[in-house]
């Protein structure tokens, strides 16, 4: 295979106005961090676990699972070795499993992930010191493989509705796990089907005839020697899915399965030997994990978007189409403004969400520190933020990946582009860890409360302080057609929408509706208000954080980064003109200026498009795309990948003899 770079792509790189490595270092967080990342990638990829003889897309569902187990085991072996050599902590597991690297090695999900991501953390967070001592050692050593079972066939986001029961029997000092209905079967946990032999099960705790709500229990599922399901355990896989077919999602039912009393994780709540229930001292602490996962998710979404825009942008530099001017060659499709419109906002979104994820991460750490000092004041704010950013980042990422895929025309539909698989992973996140509409309504609850506090004259926490300034239709300042002005406009939109929702709910209550019904009737508007709040936060954070670190950046790069911020803000202004027209004094003239500004920004950013995605520095092995590789040999790679199809190993498929020929000869 030649390593020549496609000349169109080389031309793009030659014309880039800034130093790509400088930007890569900025994204990674410094030169050393870039080197660390590269070393980690090199280390993980040199083992060659990521390479398949036959691409897994050609395998049967069962073979896909078997390949995923093989690769996951080799990967875990590698991590364990590394762990022993370097005596490193959890971070190393996470660094290799998570982010781009994990999905490069196990492109459609890993059946062992939940062992590290949920099983061990839950034991650490909710087990007593003795329980930790016993289970964590075995788990770290991989003597056992665990997973985490919460969602049931009939219940997901609404956790209180879970039906699985754990009833304490003081006569034997055991809990009896039971699945009273079909809908109570656990459904979805990764690795549960045929991989894990232990599991943390979330179940309704009954003792002394009383239900105390959902608690975690460790249950052995399979024999450690022969892996057979233990008596009373009904376990299997849930079947083929849109994506993540390597994760081995399973179902699990219990027929009165008994476990020892101390298999209940009792750091917070306890059941004593006689069956007495002792309540948790601080149930708020379990919120932490959920928020942590959502913050991480925003970062994951940036990784997936970065992949998608890298693929689509490089391909758009290589692909030529049509002939708008007679006697001139076909332009690169990147020269079409409609194509720039699809791609550049995607590139900007990666930077915008990455910035917001970093900012949210700092806030998460601050709030966690305050929590440990007993201060819970900012917890609701963080919760509200993590909910709406989870919803916005997953929804925007899904839209971005699909836009990129469609921008590659027919070839984006090829699995070898890696865009469809990426979409499968991203769109799943719109549902898991809290369904997006539910998430937006959680944020809306917080916003409505904040509004009411503002009305009562209370001061508000930082991210909603703008509500205090703007509530009650206080006269708006005149529209200011600058980035700062647009951001202020978005805050007015959010405040205006929240205010309208509150008014609407009150009106409906006055007409005799219950609060719950009035809330439901207003819920479409409430999700919209929540989204407006989230947009205001995203724009402000992206702008402010970029300004703040502009000082340490070379002028050429600073210019490009600022153009991206402008593009992002102006794009969203144009997308939400209806809101701006309703809640600010923006004029038709302003709008026309914004439209021209946007088109000018596309022109200015066009020459740096490839540089901006090159700076994500995603190795070809990780990108794993025929269309997006660094060398731009898209057509050659499409053909090379096609030749790997087992169907192409034979000139004539056997179905010709058994069906086609008989049909053609009238003998079928």
């Amino acid at each position: 295979m030649s390593t020549k770079i496609n000349p169109d792509l080389q031309k793009e790189r030659d014309q880039c106005t800034f130093d790509v490595t400088e930007l890569t270092n900025l994204i990674d967080g410094g030169v050393e961090k870039t080197e660390e990342r590269k070393k980690r990638e090199e280390m993980a990829l040199k083992e060659n676990i990521h390479n398949d003889d036959v691409p897994s897309v050609y395998l049967s569902h069962k073979e896909k699972y078997e390949l995923a187990v093989k690769k996951a085991c080799l990967l875990f072996k590698m991590i364990r070795k590394l762990q022993e050599e370097e005596n490193a902590g959890m971070e190393n597991y996470m660094a290799v499993l998570g982010g781009n690297l994990g999905s490069a090695i196990l492109s459609d999900g890993c059946p062992l992930t939940l062992h590290y991501v949920m099983f061990i953390p839950t034991v650490m967070g909710q087990g007593t010191v003795e329980q930790q001592a016993y289970w964590i050692g075995r788990a770290f050593n991989l003597d056992i493989i665990g997973t985490y079972a919460q969602t049931e066939l009939g219940h997901g986001t609404f956790i209180r509705g879970l039906e699985t029961t754990a009833t304490y029997d003081p006569s034997t000092k055991e809990f009896v796990l039971h699945s009273p209905t079909l809908t109570s079967y656990k459904w979805w946990p990764g690795g549960l089907a045929h991989t894990a032999n232990y599991c943390i099960v979330m179940a309704q705790l009954y003792t002394k005839g009383k239900c105390h709500g959902i608690h975690p229990f460790i249950v052995q599922l399979r024999d450690e020697e022969n892996h057979m399901p233990l008596p009373g355990i009904k376990v299997g896989e849930i079947g083929a899915k849109l994506g993540m077919n390597g994760t081995n999602n399973g179902f699990l039912g219990f027929d009165k399965v008994r476990i020892p009393r101390d298999y209940m994780l009792m750091k917070n709540s306890k059941v004593l030997e006689d069956g007495t229930y002792v309540n948790s001292p601080s149930s708020k602490l379990t919120y932490g994990t959920m928020m942590f996962v959502r913050v991480m998710l925003v970062n994951d979404m940036c990784n997936y978007m970065a992949k998608a825009v890298t693929i689509a942008t490089r391909y758009s530099a290589v692909r030529r189409q049509s002939q708008p001017k007679p006697n001139e060659p076909e332009p690169q499709i990147l020269d079409y403004v409609t194509q720039q419109h699809k791609l550049l906002i995607g590139i900007a979104s990666v930077y915008a969400f990455r910035t917001s994820a970093n900012w949210l991460w700092l806030m998460y750490n601050n709030v966690t520190a305050e929590l440990e000092a007993g201060d819970m004041e900012r917890l609701p704010e963080l919760h509200a933020l993590s909910c709406c950013l989870k919803a916005a980042s997953t929804a925007d990422a899904a839209a971005c990946v699909e836009r990129c895929r469609l921008a590659c025309g027919g070839h984006g539909y090829m699995l070898s582009s890696n865009l469809p698989l990426t979409y499968g992973l991203v769109t799943a996140a719109c549902t898991y860890e809290g369904e997006n509409t539910v998430m937006l309504l959680q944020t809306a609850r917080f916003l409505v409360k904040a509004w009411q506090q503002a009305v009562s004259g209370n001061t508000l926490t930082p991210t909603v302080s703008y509500l205090g300034d703007l509530r009650n239709g206080r006269r708006s300042p005149p529209w200011d057609n600058t980035i700062e002005g647009i951001i202020a406009g978005f805050q007015r939109v959010a405040a205006g929408k929240i205010g309208q929702c509150v008014a609407q709910i009150e009106k409906r209550q006055k007409s005799g509706m219950s609060y719950e019904d009035a809330w439901n009737m207003t819920s479409v508007q409430l999700t919209s208000a929540s989204e407006a709040h989230c947009r205001a936060i995203l724009l402000a954070t992206y702008f402010q954080e970029t300004e703040q670190r502009a000082g340490g950046v070379s002028p050429a790069l600073r210019r490009a980064l600022r153009q991206l911020v402008d593009l992002y803000v102006v794009y969203w202004a144009l997308q939400t003109l209806g809101d701006l027209l309703r809640f600010t004094s923006i004029s038709e003239r302003d709008i026309e200026q914004l439209q021209n500004w946007y088109e000018d920004l596309l022109v200015q950013l066009r020459p740096n498009a490839v540089g901006l995605v090159d700076a994500f520095d995603i190795r070809d092995e990780i990108l794993n795309s025929t269309l997006g590789a660094y060398d731009g040999r898209a057509y050659e790679r499409l053909m090379e990948e096609a030749m790997k199809s087992p169907l192409n190993a034979e000139p004539v498929n056997k179905s010709f003899h058994s069906y086609l020929k008989p049909l053609m000869q009238g003998k079928l």
Copy 2:
């Protein structure tokens, strides 16, 4: 398996306010048409070709192809038998292959479809009488199996850019087919890889040293006896795709392959024995096929949307979640207004697009009749309409299917829901038969011309006559907050946007840009103008056609249908408030009324949601969904389908012994 109906679903059916059968008949076009359809379905399904031992989602890529060939051959055998018995025409082939029925039997594409859909029609449309006599007989009899190869690795929508050459050699009276580059390889044609043995190839015709553009040639690809590729033919499959993995999409390259002169289809243009090229008398006629396919596509999109909303609506009646009011049971998720917001617009969209498709079909027939009488006046209008309706219907259908899938939460991600597969088929249509952005820009060209004609005082064809009334910022009438008023508002929006684009292009030209560059710079706005025009047409057509046939409908049904129209129009008004605020005099008060109207419509339509999808009358075998079956046994079916996974046939997978156990014992 019990046939008991889920009581929640039964309750929905009991409360429906209209006669579902009346609506089914209305959709089908009369009682007899419903019966015909049911008979056809019964006939096609009783052969049991649609039933698989192992669901095809569990098979390997190669096995999926082999199963698809088997099913396609059995299906074609059935159709041929039917054909002989009833002496029926093409319609019967199309009726069984197309629409819902085809996708029920071959759920992920059929490797033989292009034989009937492209090969035979192209021979009929572009072959001489002699060529038709020779080829159509063989094709109808299935002595040969053909496909149609146009798109190449390097060129799709821009047909003039195709690179495959057909050079006439007068010395042997043959054409020499050749693929001069890698990018000239044919890429994408269905059935091309391992199924068809003949192919219509679109190639650049060279004779006497001159290129005459793209022409159709029949090429034999494989030996009729042993199916081996003929010398000089490089053929194979392009690899795994997001969907349609049963279609056997192929690539095809020629190394100086010779075919007889009369294998060029010569109804329109000819090459004489000495190599003289004789031009086509009416090249416009070939437009017809393309438009026909796009009109059909709008109907297909309705079928897919109907499936998706049927699945999601029935599941939303069965699924219960959360507990907004203490001490009350969990509500059906259909009771959440946010859920109604996602589903009801989908239901309305099916009716809206179906209505527009029927209307477009009538127009197509009229224009075709006029064409045959030599009148080409309305051809550009029809072309423009078919382009933007193709784009809008495929984009809206893709959004609708994904919204439905996500509205089913995690279970929508299961392939057994049939929503992911449906999305795969729908999203492909956003690209094939003309990429959507290109389509919108084609319509925009027509609209800009129409605008200029209006400026010159010419009368306009019917679908753009509103431009004449509204151009040049003529004073708008005051906003009228009714359905008719909203539709008029949409026309003002479209006119306003087209006018702005024209002004923008002229301004840019005056500043020194070429027309082509000015067009490109304005193209984001042009696509938006084109979409606005399309929305105006859709709303007006849906409203007017529904009003027109309201007379023949019972009052209860009429009310429901009118509510759907209202919902559709008000929904789109709320979606495009920015445009309405810019180009009409709509006020904040009007907007608040629209929002309330919309929420009221959701309440009014809620009790009929299940009835409205039941009326699509999609048999369970065709719907093929665990979540959407008529009896509402969603959870039972999910479990039954899961048990069909080959992974669940063994309690312990072999990978435990080869990888998991060694890993756990530290022996890997």
